[in-house]
Amino acid sequence: MQRREFFKTSIVASAAIIGTNLSAGQTHQPKDGQKMSDMAFPEKRPMITYSDRPPLLESPRSVFAKGITSNDDFFVRWHLPDIPTKIDLESFTIKIDGLVEKELNITLKELRNDFEQVEVTAVLQCGGNSRSAFTPMAGGIQWGSGAMGCAKWKGVRLSDLLNKARLKKDAHWIGFNGKDKAAYYETPNFVRELELEELDDHVIVAYEMNGEDLPYLNGFPLRLVIPGYYSDSWVKMLSNITVTNEYKSLFFMDVAYRVPDNATESESPEHKAKKTKPITNMNVKSIIGYPENGMKLYHNAHLVIRGVAFDDGHGIHQVMISTNEGKTWSEALLKQEDGRYAFTEFRFTYKPTKYGKMSIMAKAINRLGDEQPLSKDILWNHGGYKYNGIDVVEVEVV
């Protein structure tokens, strides 16, 4: 190696060492106001588009001024590139096999006619929603706050399907697989395994979303709905349910979608937690849908601040609003008509009297008393999961 070259290399190396001493930096507000794509995907409006293959689409902030997210605004996240381009509704079946007395192949028609039809309104949120808030940047798509939505899901209870197939005595794990495929045969399928005890009567196999068929990109014709859980467990294009007595080792269960298994679920880049656990239940969170960052508000106008709040189904107790950087907080009015798993809508009337820049903050508190921390107090994890910082919107009064 020439001397000059060596010199150059050592400068880069020492800079990097300084960099690692920084440890986890301060968490901040997630990215906001990203550009919408010019191109609309099937059954969708133009959305924030991170990838076309597999499709990764985010909803803009304005969608969260309402408690129900419409199907064409609803976020999309697939893991594998090969999604079937057509589902034949006559021949499509969902197969239930493994440790059951009677293996079943149920058609969509039978699903609608032979089982009790049930509905649940529930929030679907990616575990990595708001990942762009973390410093240093956590691995994965740098989502803003729109990798979530709330819909009314209709379908049949998973327990009714399992009861019809009759579980054998040693049944313990239930595996769920969809019809999406990888480019290589050897790539693992996106299979989820859940313990039988985790699955209560609220878990459904849904074919309808907000009174319409599921959009293709949200898992047509069937998807698993697990109210309160992050979306990695809500398997799309669900075609197979397999009952086993022992847990299989699976990439998407064992490596992805996990957080440190310690009290604060946190770690530092230099000392990653050795023990991790699946992300499962959602924490308490809220988002302001209106007004949005950068908006100009008319002085003395009667502004109605609107947004949504949710948790894993314990239910939202209060949403507090601050218009003075968190010095004082006032209670917003809540609308809770769709049950404990749904978005709670909040609204707060506010008359801006001072000219200039100001911020609006929203903080949700659930029935357990859990409340959202300030974003700077959220501790780092390598996957950038479970961000739930107090939402802040900066506006200008003119």
Partner: protein
């Protein structure tokens, strides 16, 4: 009458997909920084996912890109040669790096 019509539509209409033909997901062209090693990215990475999936991870360290590439091989079974691994990591760090060797 209108109400009756609506009910019957719901009852029979919902067994059909909203899209009855093959669904086509549009192709999005992402701005790609051309340079040494892009060929290896094209023939390895883009087999399974878009270029957007790469650049929307944000600027990252050399170690990050090396680990991501390793994840694609170990967990997703991407068949990559030793040379291509190095070439791809170099390309990603050079064009989509954050200037740091480690996180």
């Amino acid at each position: 009458m209108k109400k009756v019509l609506l009910v019957s539509l719901l009852a029979f209409g919902s067994l059909f997909a909203q899209v009855e033909e093959d669904v086509e997901v549009p192709y999005i062209s992402y701005e790609i920084k051309m340079g040494k090693g892009f060929d290896a990215v094209q023939s390895n990475c883009l087999m399974c996912h878009s270029f957007g999936y790469i650049i929307n991870q944000g600027p990252q360290s050399r170690e990050f890109w090396a680990k991501k590439t390793d994840k694609m091989i170990t967990h997703f079974k991407a068949p990559m040669t030793k040379e291509d691994i190095d070439t791809v990591v170099e390309y990603l760090y050079e064009h989509y790096g954050n200037g740091k060797l480690k996180v």
